[in-house]
């Protein structure tokens, strides 16, 4: 069972419940509000640790026009 209160990828504690299994009580899905990682409570193994600089090279798709608001995380959408 993977922890529900800490992001397996970026170790943030800012996580929230996202979904429950359609068949009740089988698993829950959690989401990280810092790095957008989603994971399921029933996943047995997650080796997804990120270096601090992982997002530094993120590519802005189709640059041009007005600069979009880079809200980055799922928290505010």
């Amino acid at each position: 069972m993977i922890q529900s209160d800490i992001c397996p990828r970026c170790s943030s504690k800012d996580v929230s419940d996202v979904a429950d299994s359609p068949v009740a009580g089988i698993w829950k899905v959690y989401g990280c509000n810092k790095c957008n990682f989603l994971w399921r409570s029933s996943e047995e193994e997650l080796d997804v640790k990120l270096p601090e600089t992982a997002f530094d090279d993120a590519i802005w798709l189709f640059k041009g026009g007005k600069k979009p608001e880079m809200i980055r995380t799922r928290k505010s959408i």
Partner: protein, 493 residues
Amino acid sequence: MDSNKAFKVTIFESHRFQLQPASDLRHWLDFLQDDNDLWIIEDEVKPEPDIGAIGKAISDTQGPAALIKNVRGYKSPLAIGVHGAPRRVAKALGLEKDANNDQVIEAWSRALSRYPVKSVLRSDGTCKENIVKGDKVNLFDFPLHRLNSIDGSFFISKGCLISKGNDNDIVNVGIYRMMVLGKNKTAIMMQFDQHAARHFVSQEEKGKPLQISVSIGNEPVLPMVAGAKMPYEWSEFDVAGAVRESPYELTKSETSDLPVPAHAEIILEGVIEPHLRVFEGPFGEFPGAYTGYFYAPIFTVKAITHRDNPIYETLYIGRPDAEHHYMTRHSKLATLTNELRKVMPKITRIAYLKPYIHVAVIQGKWTHTGDPKQAINLFWGVSLGRNAKITVCVDEDVNPWDASEVMWAISTRVSSSNDIFIMHDAYQSLDPAHISGVSIKIGIDATKPRPPYLRFKPVDWIDPPKGTDQWIAKIMKMKKENRDTGVELNDSK
């Protein structure tokens, strides 16, 4: 086998006699089952890592498509590997299961010459059997899963995205990876020259959202068309109609005027928000490596329509060759060849060597010393050619599908550093070796010397001795009769 038949009754009975063959995913699965090319998995399967592992196993073994009835915690079945073997791609086009690469491309070329076969709009559709809107929208009703272990979330990998631009009335359909962010949100990864991206950018410049619909669980032709790159002015629905030689049946979305496949399993409807980007990635992509992160637009799902007991279809993507490669290899090549021949009729065939689209081979009836290099530059200039890192030009006596023949041409017909050239600063954000989305392309002219400038002194190349073809036919016949000749014959010749 008994359990398979039982499943057919429970899932397909209500629909199987109402529609034409292969007009939807259910009928295609029925056909595959009758053809012993469908694996129905009754046992409970874990979303992770089992679904990805099954998809990888099907791709590696070119095994049967799989219909997983019981994904742990979900109520809906899941199909994977529907395009996970070349024989199923051939069968979906109405060809013999052992059709070779050239025959499949020829079938695509014939289909493209029939374009357009106009789609028809129905007032109803089985995709409307259930309609969910607003707060009740929940993507997790369907068996979402992490396909490969480092993927940043659960990705929708086989959704056909339907959108329309302001500049014409053509409806485009393409496959874009969608990273689930919540019950009604996904990120969408689009590259600047993809059709939906063009539609989105033109709306975003006006500060408006782009309406889209996403069709999941389609008959087998549409994903092959959507995964290729048809001309912008063409509707993929009318291409699919040309391939199937019958009009594609569409119906209207619930929340917009966009047409959607009338008999799809699941339709997602909503908008891509302007001026917003969110972290997307990583995702295990077709080169066989995870991409890094993108700032990607956000899809808000406003309605979902689906059939009773919907089958969620997913696509395995991973190190070549995987399902994605089988699904789009020939449709992409046929489109490319069609496009490039209009500009340069000397091009005879274009092929991809394994691994998939990273090594392209252009065969031509070259007459001028500059032709091959010009063909390579032409190829790099079209968006489908963008993904090839190495592009080789060969003559008509070299089979472009055969790596050993291509290597022979390179090792005997490349003369100087002029025959190997590099384009720096090429856009390619999915190349694992990219730096800020920029990589290189390598062109190799492996052709014979031609006037007016002879790259090296012409030599006499050894042609097969007279009668070789007849002897090959005899050996093939022996091989067919299961007599061990110890000879490996290449059926793509």
